[in-house]
Amino acid sequence: MKRLTPAKWIGVMAALAAGVAAIALVGTAVGSSGARPWSALSDETAFTIVFKYRLLKVLLAVAVGGSLAVCGVTFQALLRNPLADPYILGVSGGASFGAMVAIWVGLPAVLGFPAVPAAAFAGALGTIFLVYSVAGRGSRVSPHTLLLVGVIANAFFAAGVKFIWSRAAFTKRDEMVNWIMGELPENISLTTVAAFAAVSLLGVLVMIPRAKAFNLMSLGEDAASSLGEDVERTKLVGFFAASLLTAAAVAVSGPIGFVGLVVPHLLRLAFGPDHRLLLPASVLGGGIFLALADAVARSAPGGALPVGVVTAVLGCPFFLYLLKRGGVSG
């Protein structure tokens, strides 16, 4: 393990923060129209596009991307599995199923809260509860059992989604496909961004203080407990914080893939496996990655793409390249 010095920590975090600033500038500068930020002050239309449309997308992309990446780090640490991502325990499957039900039966908004994200969140919560209650043995939970139950839950809900899709009205299929693709919502208000950022901050504040415990866990659960770590408690808190934050992210933007898998590996490769740096770095790194993908998606020639398509297209080849170089490890 490379040694982590305060200087390195500050250097890396400062560089990533600069990266977030840079991608925020790029993200508000590009889009499907020719509007440019420098004309925003003299031109009302450009002003609207840059500040009331693009900026909110960029902010939400940073928050969602950061959340997914930090959750990815947590799942990879606690499951000690390099293939773990925020969706591995069934959260995205349950959320998708909930969203599909809402679209299928045409649920109305409740108290001004739109039905599809609400149902997605409910589906995710239900899945979290189901998976942990099936996998748990008293107060103990085995990562392997969790993984298996999560895989089964995802497979079951994938079947449920296909069932609903095949039963759904022809005219509703587009909305379903749009959601499943994983997409930052088109109608973003500042309230949405603020609420999500608050939830995200809360989750991050639970995970980051457990960096030392995550480091010990990577030596194995037995080693960690012999070093005085309360392993079961760390797992429980970590899993729930990461699962709930993932549920919120999927409710807002659908199951956007690859951010939570690729970004943790990328940062581990670049800056080493110490979670004291990896956890906070993944918040900024995930934000950069998703905001970049969103900028590409919004300015793609031939019309905007769903951002989930771009994250996979950017993420897969890069991941394979890292794998080929032998740089990927749990």
């Binding site: 449309y53 900026l55 902010l59 109608n187």
Partner: protein
């Protein structure tokens, strides 16, 4: 840094939107720059004489041909908010759908005037044409179009009334097959044109259907709208199923254009075409250049 961005976004959101929202409701106003987010609405705008003010249409707006040259603003179910705002529209028109609602709400929250009118039944289509006429100051054009549609409907319905009613299947998709139910626009047109829809009553406009159901229902005419205009490509899908009377008798027909099942201004022409396919002995086929 993020906090600074966030604060700037908060300040911007509080600044009041430009007061343009009243335009949509003012009868007789003539908004100068129109954007259509629905292919059928594009057709209506051109048909009532507002075509020269349309500055943006969806990627699927291919009628009338002039519409193809206009700037594109995404798809019906994925309108591109930024592209629409950049066109500085005075009024955005279209039909509502669950998938385009977030974009419509965003446009409204940006202070743009948006007028969406339901048009999934023939009655809704008629009120949509009238409403689009009012919103764009083309009431006379809208009245003329409505009269024309009413006339062709009355003409076809009267001539079809005494004829025997063959069984008809109208398909809009293969693998899976989706068929038009009686409540859909093609379903209504089949009935008016003197046909009997083999699909039973349903809450939804298009229902899943199978070859097995098609064999059991034994339609005498199949109208296949899956490869619009490509008359030769379509019947091939059905050729193996000679148990179906329509296949055996060579009465599988390709709908020659999407106007047949889109709720647009060419609906009268769509009805005449369907009538020609169901009762070729009575109705002259209204399919231009297809055969």
């Amino acid at each position: 840094m993020l906090a600074a961005l966030f604060v700037s976004a908060a300040i911007v959101e509080r600044s009041s939107p430009p007061a343009r929202s009243d335009l949509a409701t003012t009868a007789g106003a003539r908004p100068g720059r129109l954007v259509s987010i629905t292919p059928a609405t594009t057709e209506i705008l051109f048909a009532i004489g507002a075509g020269d003010r349309v500055v943006g249409v969806t990627r699927y707006c291919d009628w009338p041909p002039e519409a193809k040259a206009l700037p594109r603003i995404g798809e019906f179910n994925r309108p591109d908010v930024e592209a629409i705002v950049a066109l500085r529209p005075d009024l955005i028109l279209g039909t509502p759908s669950p998938a385009n609602r977030p974009a419509v709400e965003k446009l409204q929250s940006l202070g743009l005037a948006v007028a969406v009118h339901k048009a999934s039944t023939i009655d809704e289509l008629k009120s949509a044409i009238a409403a689009v006429g009012r919103a764009t100051g083309e009431e006379a054009g809208a009245r003329r179009l409505l009269l024309e549609i009413t006339r062709s409907f009355r003409d076809v319905a009267e001539r079809a009334k005494p004829l025997k009613r063959p069984k008809v299947l109208f398909v809009v998709s293969h693998d899976p097959i989706y068929a038009a139910s009686p409540g859909s626009i093609p379903g209504r047109l089949i009935e008016l044109a003197g046909g009997r829809n083999v699909v039973g009553d349903s809450k939804t406009e298009y229902v899943p259907f199978t070859i097995e159901q098609a064999i059991a229902a034994a339609p005498e005419v199949i109208i296949d709208a899956t490869a619009m205009g490509d008359v030769k490509a379509n019947p091939g899908y059905w050729a193996r199923w000679r148990d179906i009377p329509a296949v055996r008798d060579g009465r599988v027909h390709a709908a020659s254009g999407d106007y047949v099942y889109l709720p647009g201004p060419r609906i009268g022409r769509g009805l005449r075409e369907i009538a020609g396919l169901i009762h070729p002995e009575v109705f002259v086929r209204g399919r231009e250049g297809a055969e």
